[in-house]
């Protein structure tokens, strides 16, 4: 159907270069006006219900939302602003809670909350925490969050390094919806410009550009659930209903399930376990986290020019360049990891690599904590069959609180030894 050309000839309109520019301007104007009429919409921000009434602002959106950061969250004034950047190792799971369930996070506790309580106990008050936590956060996303935290001028950055991912080249990012926001922050750091050409898709750049000026694009994702619901009610109004099918399921917004099976499972099972999953499941065929993580840690790659190292170095460089205070700590690991000798050896190698970086990057403002002192971990309980997720904090929160306090109170900081 050559309808477009036909329609244009019917209109009797002859396109000219200036005509095209005028049309484009009109289109932009109408989109802008439509955007004005659009409120910000309430984005579903995970962990909101975990921090009710606390001076803590969760900022990271659902994985399916390209905004990546809740830009509506107002920056807080005064007091000490801590930016807590972490993955699920900062979540204290209620026994039986599912790991990747974004919607049922409410009854789990958070390590930053426990640490805030500890800080208050050692009369470090007037503290506000910007919470940059996402389940399955990978090193590239945590680098972008570091840049964003510096943009939102955090006073202290607390950043978790996950031993199972820090040197793992198989998983530098999870899903690509964070790239639209990342384009803005990466453009400030020439050392990573080559990432801009290889990682964010052209549509991410387009979305970043359009989203900054046109609300209709920036705020659309927040309305995804309402649009879904509107379409469904339209459908229900016109067409007969499917009996027995809970059509409301269809209207459920795309919460966390954006995390489709990640490709890492494919590479590991196909390449390193030649397709046999039995090493990852127990006799009841349930996936065992510990077994999965112990395969992952085998992938740690210590050669110099890997992208995972490049990301870690960029994170450290940018923090140093900012002059801001920071604590980067390697998330503690359960002693059960010793059951897998190769995994334990890899874990030791990871620690020695980080200690080498410690010599280079540690100073009075930036702490790179590789070994959490053992007494800080008494009372800490790891989830059953899991080497990194927590059920009980134990002494970890007070250790982190004192580490943060040590950075803030003593201005003339002598060369500190851990």
């Amino acid at each position: 159907m050559k309808s477009v050309d036909h329609a244009l000839s019917l209109l009797g309109y002859k396109a000219t270069p200036f005509g095209l520019v005028r049309i484009a301007l009109w289109a932009f104007l109408f989109l802008y006006l439509a955007g004005l009429a659009l409120p910000p919409g309430n984005r579903t921000i995970p962990f909101t219900e975990n921090v009710v009434g606390l001076p803590i602002t969760p900022l990271v959106t659902l994985p399916s939302d390209p905004a990546f950061i809740d830009e509506q969250a107002l920056p807080t004034q005064g007091g000490l602003k801590i930016a807590w950047i972490s993955d699920s190792s900062s979540v204290i799971y209620k026994p039986g809670a599912k790991f990747l369930d974004f919607s049922a996070m409410g009854d789990n506790r958070l390590l930053p909350v426990e640490t805030l309580n500890q800080l208050r106990e050692i009369n470090q008050n007037d503290i506000h925490i910007d919470l940059y936590i996402r389940l399955s956060l990978r090193s590239l996303e945590s680098y972008t969050l570091t840049e964003i935290a510096l943009e939102r001028n955090a006073d202290i950055i607390v950043l978790t390094l996950n031993p199972f991912f820090v040197f793992n080249n198989h998983a530098i990012f999870k899903g690509n919806t964070h790239f639209a926001r990342a384009t803005r922050t990466w453009s400030k750091n020439p050392a990573v410009w080559y990432w801009l050409a290889l990682l964010p898709q052209p549509s991410d750049h387009l979305w970043a550009g359009l989203g900054r000026h046109l609300n209709i694009f920036a705020r659309a994702p927040a309305f995804a659930p309402d649009v879904h619901a509107a379409k469904l009610s339209l459908w229900k109004a016109i067409f007969p209903q499917i009996k027995g099918q809970n059509t409301d399921k269809l209207s459920a917004p795309p919460s966390g399930e954006g995390l489709k099976e990640n490709s890492m499972i494919f590479w590991v099972t196909q390449r390193y376990l030649n397709g046999d999953l039995s090493k990852l499941v127990n006799d009841k065929n349930e996936a065992i986290n510990a077994l999965w993580y112990r395969q992952l840690i085998r992938l740690a790659d210590f050669t110099q020019d890997t992208i995972s190292r490049a990301i870690l170095l960029q994170t450290l460089e940018r923090i140093k360049a900012s002059g801001k205070k920071a604590i980067l700590y390697l998330a503690p690991v359960s002693e059960n990891l010793r059951e897998d000798e190769t995994a334990w050896k890899q874990y030791q190698k990871i620690k020695s690599e980080l200690k080498a970086l410690q010599q280079v990057y540690e100073d009075d403002k930036v702490k790179l904590i590789v070994d959490i002192p053992p007494d800080a971990l008494n009372g800490t309980v790891f989830v059953e069959n899991d080497d990194v997720h927590l059920n009980e904090v134990g002494g970890l929160s007070s250790f982190l609180a004192s580490s943060i306090a040590s950075l803030t109170s003593k201005p003339e900081q002598k060369e500190s030894t851990p």
Binding site: M1, K2, V4, D5, L8, K14, A15, T16, P17, G19, L20, I23, R138, N169, H170, A171, I172, F173, K174, Y194, L198, L199, Q201, P202, S203, H205, L206, K231, L232, L234, W235, F239, P240, Q241, I242, K243, G244, Q245, T247, L250, K260, E261, S263, M264, I265, F266, W267, T269, Q270, R271, G275, L277, D305, T306, I307, S308
Partner: protein
Amino acid sequence: MKFSLEYSSTAFFLDLLALSLLLLPIYLVASGTRTRQVTLTLSGLYLLLFIAPRLALLSLFFWLLVFAMQRLIANLENKAQEKPDISSLVLFVFIAAVLGTLTPMLWWKTQEWEFVKLINLSGNSALSLFSRTLWEIDLARNIIMPVGLSFATFRAVDLLVKTYIGKFRAMSLREVFYYGFFPPVLVVGPIIEYEEIKEGASGKLPAPKSDDFLAGALRTAWGFFKVLFLASLLQPSAQILDTFNTQSVSTIWIYLFVYTWFFYINFSGYSDIAIGIARLYGFKLKENFNNPFFARNIIEFWSSWHMSLYRFARRNVFVPLGGYRENRHLYALAGTMMTIALWHALSASMVTFGIYHTIGLILHRQFTKWKDRNNISLDHPAAQLACLLFTYLFVMLSFPLIVLPLGTALEFYGSMFGM
């Protein structure tokens, strides 16, 4: 362990549109045919990088082989002019080349999981030989199904057939890669012929003018609107495909009716986007749909649904099988229909789909002969409407075969008729 390999073509087209904002000014300024061909090839490759770098590498490898085969056949075809005695050799090489080109697609359609494992693992490993960074980025990209393989395969076969019948001389790598990586048609077609994007008699590629930009932009916006808004409104109709055994007969018919429109709007929307974006670069690709649901007979339907596939099947299957010879016409019809059906999937349901529509074509042929013999005219509007409705009904009934395995499709028909 299976992977959900669903892929969003929308993301690809959004990328192509975004890239075009940067590319079009360059395209307008660097107006040499070679530079334009190379620019388009590189941008096609670049876009595949975002699906997965391994897909870009495998596509390069595929089209490199096509280049080699095309050159070989062209040279042999040349020699055969002077020494006709080698023409059977040329035929043999040609058939081997076509079968070789079809192999990846056939392998995928018959052994999906094994083929998916192979291309992901081998593609990724091969990447590590070229660039460590690309290899590491590739590891984090999704596991892919061979996006656009069926389209690329038929474009390649078309090229080889035209070389064999002497229409094309030996082509340069630049030309073959330009044809292989022409961005708008990479993911969901249409299955274009090389002539549609070839330089004109003047040796120049068409330069987009203002009306090309306007028509192209409008057509693209219209395509996105159809796919992202209209089709998504009708998408709930797909529920019937897995809940039909507990629904009322009327619900099944209504949902199937809506589903055919969802399928058409979604698929033709993608073609609108592809043709629209190609138009931004000045290319006027042949149409891929022509109101198929308003066709008055089955032959008219098949010449207005996924027309690029139909044209491919007609020139590369129907004609060689003797479509224009009285005695071989039936075989040609059946061959053409089966090619169209089995291109979608090598499954029992698609074989049935092919047989179903071949019978439809044959019955239409007999009906036309009978009608002409008794000089009955169907020009009366009521008759035209009846033909339209009957054709649509005939096509609608075949839809379950496209999306359901044969057993389930038969159950679907059972519940459609209240059995």
